[in-house]
């Protein structure tokens, strides 16, 4: 009989001449690709996911991971994944799962947008000599500022500013729950957020006590499972986020199987050990926009109107109207997650075929809120496919107040976007709860790398602002005039509100 009728995707190979039989690869691989055969390392290449942990930890560079040269016959219609998924389904009868954002070759509009620069008539500004400001406040802004006469005839601020999240740079870390990622991964995000003056987001898994010291840099999330939610939790961070949807799996819920719920996660989520943690697809008390408004105001009441409330939605076809409703329902922040956004686990069919890209969604939402004269009522966070400071700059020019980084942040921790997060075997200790794997991720060490990344992106953003001849991020925000499209059709340009290059 055969092992499986689906082909291994990768071919792990060890050069027997170079190998010194130190067995590090055996210990490092979370997927048990390697085992000891008495006199040499044995390889079960079917298990290899190309996460490259073994490669980096092999002292002799004896390992190579190749794309399996054995392939199905080339076919422009029946691609590798079509055949493989079909065979897997024939093996199991189940829904193939996947992790991370979609790897399907849908066009990435960020790659078809170019940013302006100054020449002659308007001078560029040198960010090394002049101040460049990235500070960003997220939250509801009154439409205008009002003053009143105080004693002694002096005028005094009358407008009460609604609560805001202060960010030293327009980046936040995307919600990733304890359970979907390890506590060490969450700690890494928290340490970096605090050091950088930005925020991380607990995701829907509650707030572990180890993260409490970072509370001034934390957004706490309330999702359909309501894990770990109580008044203390709601008041623990700087803002509260209601999660309606996620870009990678719009319209569907989440499921963390009981085997992945040890004591610590159970405590944080406030559920019994070993029970499945189920996040239903809808929030069972939200079946209309009025219901959402009730929840928003229930949270505002519970936090005494001291925290902005964010509502996170997946980018779907009607996102502009939905976002407008959310703002009218009282949200201070709208978090839009594009379909390329990451996930710990989602059915492939959902991840790869539902939702719309963040570029379209963001452009449509920003424009709609402006047309309705309510853009100041809420900040917009764009997420789902921000890979570089250039993507961030383009998203901000399209109208985002800040961008959220999930996958990008994990990549600094060693992630290679292998997409196998749902297995819980992540060799890098990120999307796993296996203690022997999670200890690898030293939060102090990896926070340093994450801080480096955000510093690098901030410097790059400043360079972009300087080239644009402006010295504050708010002069780029929503300034679509500074973007041009290359090779985009007129409908797309129209949706993005961007002119074609050359015009």
């Amino acid at each position: 009989m055969f092992k499986s009728l689906s082909l291994p995707e990768f071919l792990a190979k060890i050069d027997p001449v170079k190998c010194i039989k130190c067995k590090r690869c055996i210990n490092n691989c979370g997927w048990s690709v390697y085992s000891w055969g008495g006199d040499k390392v044995l390889i079960d290449t079917f298990k290899c996911v190309n996460c490259l942990r073994c490669y980096h930890y092999c002292p002799e560079e004896a390992i190579t991971i190749l794309d399996n040269p054995v392939k199905y016959r080339k076919n422009a219609n029946w691609g590798y994944y079509n055949i493989r998924n079909l065979k897997k389904q024939a093996d199991t009868g189940g829904i193939p799962l996947t992790g991370m954002g979609s790897d399907m070759p849908y066009p990435v509009l960020f790659d078809s947008l170019l940013i302006d620069a100054c020449q002659v008539t308007n001078p560029s500004i040198d960010p090394l000599r002049e101040p460049m400001e990235l500070r960003t406040y997220l939250g509801k802004k009154p439409a205008k500022l009002e003053f009143e006469k105080a004693k002694g005839g002096k005028s005094k601020l009358k407008t009460k500013m609604p609560p805001q999240i202060k960010l030293e740079m327009p980046f936040i870390f995307a919600p990733m729950s304890y359970g979907s990622i390890s506590l060490n991964a969450q700690k890494t995000l928290a340490i970096a957020a605090k050091e950088l003056g930005i925020v991380m987001n607990t995701g829907e898994g509650g707030l572990h006590e180890d993260i409490y010291p970072y509370r001034s840099n934390i957004i706490v999330q309330v999702a359909s499972g309501r894990f770990g939610v109580n008044p203390d939790y709601l008041n623990a961070g700087v803002a509260v986020e209601i999660k309606i949807g996620q870009g990678a799996k719009p319209g569907i819920g989440g499921h963390l199987p009981g085997e992945k719920i040890p004591l610590d996660i159970a405590k944080t989520r406030m559920i019994p050990v070993g029970t499945d943690a189920i996040s239903p697809a809808p929030q069972h008390d939200i079946y209309s926009i009025e219901d959402l408004r009730q929840l928003i105001y229930a949270i505002k009441e519970a936090t005494n109107y001291t925290k902005p409330v964010s509502v996170k939605i997946a980018a779907v076809h009607n996102v502009a109207a939905i976002a407008s409703g959310i703002v009218r329902a009282g949200a201070d922040i709208v978090y839009i997650d594009g379909f390329r956004g990451g996930t710990g686990a989602a059915p492939s069919v959902i991840r790869d075929h539902l939702g719309i890209p963040i570029e379209h969604a963001l452009a449509a939402v920003d424009e709609r809120l402006r047309q309705e004269g309510i853009r100041n009522e809420a900040s917009i966070i764009a997420a789902g496919g921000i890979r570089s400071s250039a993507d961030a700059a383009k998203a901000i020019a399209l109208g985002a107040d800040a961008v959220a980084l999930g996958t990008s942040a994990l990549i600094t921790m060693g992630c290679t976007v292998c997409g196998k997060c749902y297995t819980g075997n992540c060799s890098w200790g990120i999307t796993t709860q296996r203690p022997e794997l999670t200890v690898r991720l030293d939060p102090e060490v990896y926070a340093e790398r994450l801080i480096n990344l955000i510093h690098a992106w901030s410097h790059e953003l400043k360079e972009i602002l300087g080239a644009l001849g402006v010295n504050a991020i708010e002069s780029l925000r929503g300034s679509r005039e500074r973007l041009r499209g290359v090779g985009l059709d007129s409908h797309t340009l129209d949706i993005l509100g961007v002119k074609p290059a050359g015009r």
């Binding site: 100054c118 008539t121 308007n122 001078p123 500004i125 002049e130 101040p131 400001e133 500070r135 406040y137 802004k141 009154p142 439409a143 205008k144 500022l145 009002e146 003053f147 005028s155 005094k156 601020l157 407008t159 500013m161 805001q164 402006r370 047309q371 004269g373 853009r375 100041n376 644009l468 001849g469 402006v470 010295n471 504050a472 708010e474 002069s475 780029l476 925000r477 929503g478 300034s479 679509r480 005039e481 500074r482």
Partner: protein, 270 residues
Amino acid sequence: MPTTQVEGIAISPLLWRYFVKPLTEKSEREVANLEDDDFVVRTVMKINSEIDGAYVFSSGKNMGAFKGVGNPGEIARFFKIEEYDGYIWTGHTRFPTNTPGWWGGAHPFTLLDWSIVHNGEISSYGINKRYLEMYGYKLTLLTDTEVVTYLFDLLVRRHGLDIETACTALAAPFWKNIDDMPNDEKEEMTALRMIYGSALMNGPFSILFGHSKGLVGFNDRIKLRPLVAATKGKTVYMASEESAIREICSSPEKVWSPRAGEPVIVELEI
């Protein structure tokens, strides 16, 4: 509009001047409850954006704009400005940098009693424009200076900010300076920047903002364009260059260069 033939100005648009009184019956206006000024602004926007080839250059009560394509002297003679009296004058000429000269695109840019002349470029035009559009302004004159006029209209007339606060919003102090301010002021400046971030004018500019009660000169927050002010007796002079001031006032008593982003606000003595 009284004009005269001037050598050097071969063609000019059809220029009409009307002295009008806004419809008194508020119900006759497109939207009820509009104040006179709002009604005038709406009408100006409507004409500029909806009637092909027609533009309103001036819509003030005690203010006129004389502008066109030609040398400043020729334009002055063309409009016979020697026949007008005024207590505030601003003048402007330029080398048409980004857009070829056209009559509508010449300075000043006016709306109601606000008038702007501008040396420089507004690099934040894209977002300033979209911000104004949210409040019903229609930007039709193909040049960045237009936003300045409308921003003043929005902040001063519609939002009720005093002129100094409006200037501070448009050329805001840096966060590092705000962080060092005493608490009250810090709170005020932080709110100002949060609320008016999209109105922040970024890029090189020096601007003269004339209105019925005075004149304001200010430049961008890192002073990428020059601005010089001077006084003699009860008259104040402002220009991009001192030589321009000395051209009309050869021996000013006091001459100074205002700091970046710091407005020079002159109020009329009545």
